[in-house]
Amino acid sequence: MTVFVDIGHRLGDFGIDARFESAGRLTALFGPSGSGKTTLINLIAGLIRPDRGRIAVDGRVLVDTDAGLFVPKHKRRIGMVFQDARLFPHMSVAANLRYGRWFTPAAERYADINAVVDLLGIGALLERRPAKLSGGEKQRVAIGRALLASPKLLLMDEPLASLDEARKAEILPYIERLRDETKIPIVYVSHSIAEVARLASDVVVLAQGKVAASGPTGAIMQRLDLLPAEERGEGGGVLDTVVLRHDEAFGMTVLGSAAGEIRVPRLVMPAGAPVRVRIRARDVMIATERPIGLSALNILPGTIVAMEPGEGAVVEVGIDCNGATVLARITGQSRQALKLRLGRKVFAVVKTVSFDSANTGVGLPIEADG
């Protein structure tokens, strides 16, 4: 399943000229507001007719301006979850859920209503009206409604952006289940590094209407230069790990990764479960010798493979820990004092408590990754 987009479109002063191709399970379109993410996803959904270009999903050409081809939105079989849910106010939750199913040819209906209701935990809401739902519930129903149209591709336009932190935490696990338990490829628009690092298998970075970079999440998240300045501290290495064991005495979970064991606050996941952690560059300290008498529990040996000056006093250092890259933000003064240079063996030090629900989530199953 691949999504191919090569499009040129002008909207007043704003122009978009983007080309990307992704075969990922969940492809994130990532960029600051005004970078053209939503325009791009609206073009894929068929809500906007592009000036120029070509869009194909799984080999089926939806738009080809050269050939004069434009498949209207209701014939595309592409589900869309909007930022503002857009549930139909005059229908119950159950009627909203069944709406798209009704327009799907019987032979192509693969989504089962009971399975979707269970997956999203919305069984208790079926008889209610959309106006009586909380923001998080609305968004879950909107996801269910899109799924029940049995789409060939699911588009999600910042589905969490209008929710508070608690509601976001409520929805994120459902999106992770969606990614892992259904076969539908997802294109997910977001400006939040936390969401992208946690959910995406692939990332397309947009800036001013153009594709700045695209590739697997782990590779993109290390490129701090791609991140907006105010979010740069949120960036860092993304590690795919598995739960090795739980340390009940201290309330911790031990994760196994290429870089070595990582101790994080206790997770409610069984041993063997995949976990994706994002180690924020600002949370990482660098030691030239294995530290003794230090409270931080995670000490990962590695080699400096990159060193880039950031803005101001900051230097960004990439450390290769047995194939997994960890990023650290330190000051120029520290770099000089420690005499850091490329190829030097160092230790990346990360406190256990720097892992929280925002940077630790259900990972993609390791064998399906890459």
């Binding site: 209701h74 592409i78 857009r86 106006a131």
Partner: protein
């Protein structure tokens, strides 16, 4: 109180005829009313201002002028009237159908205004969402737009009905004042005021007029509230 309910057969006929004329005028003008409102709310085309002006003409012209224009076009010798009579056997002049036409035309701008406002208030994003779920434009209109504009539709229909119940000038100019055929409530009241001793009859019909109009208003309120509650639009 007896004199109040003791209507003569002619008076009863006027009441029945008025209700029939107003109901037919309302129902027949609904489909074109929705269509014109849709075109005015959503369409972008040359001549939109002209169409808008044309629809509103009966609201600003003296009713007698509207009635006379109807007589010129839909009368026996008028171009539209002659065509309809020959091709379909539909005759308007001096028939109750003519009264319904006059009432429908007079109420049309009110109906279109109400429906147009409610169409403009519909969140088009809802329609886009329905489109991504596989509904073609016709289904989107039937399952999303139409239910969402239902309160405006009811308001427009009731306005048209109420206008038809009170229409006098255009009706009397177009189809005259024939008992049992074109004599609606206002025409009957007018006739009573022109003859000596007609005061009691005029008063009876006036009270009935008030009751029917109030009933229509209350019915529309109840309906609109019911629809609103179903949609949870607080």
């Amino acid at each position: 109180m007896n004199w109040l309910l003791d209507l003569t057969p002619d008076e009863w006929n006027a009441v029945r005829l008025s209700i029939k004329v107003a109901t037919v005028a309302m129902i027949v003008s609904l489909p074109p009313g929705i269509l014109i409102a849709l075109v005015l709310a959503r369409g972008q085309f040359w001549g939109k201002t002209l169409l808008n002006g044309l629809v509103h003409l009966p609201l600003i012209l003296p009713p007698v002028v509207t009635g006379y224009l109807l007589l010129l076009t839909f009368g026996r010798r008028g171009p539209a009237g002659a065509f309809l009579a020959e091709q379909f056997g539909i005759v308007f002049s001096f028939r109750w159908t003519g009264a319904a036409l006059a009432c429908g035309v007079m109420g049309f701008p009110l109906m279109v205004r109400a429906i147009r406002l409610s169409i403009e208030a519909v969140d088009r994003k809802m329609e886009a969402a329905a489109g991504t779920l596989g509904a073609n434009p016709l289904w989107v209109f039937g399952t999303i737009t139409l239910p969402l504009i239902l309160p405006g539709l009811i308001a427009g229909a009731i306005l048209s009905f109420a206008k038809a119940m009170g229409e006098f000038g255009a009706t009397i100019t177009f189809v005259s004042n024939i008992p049992n055929e074109t004599q609606t409530l206002p025409s009957a009241i007018y006739t009573f005021t022109q003859v000596p001793g007609g005061d009691a009859g005029a008063l009876r019909l006036t009270l009935i007029s008030i009751v029917v109009s109030m009933a229509a208003l209350v019915a529309s309120e109840v309906l609109a509230r019911h629809v609103g509650r179903r949609m949870d639009i607080e």
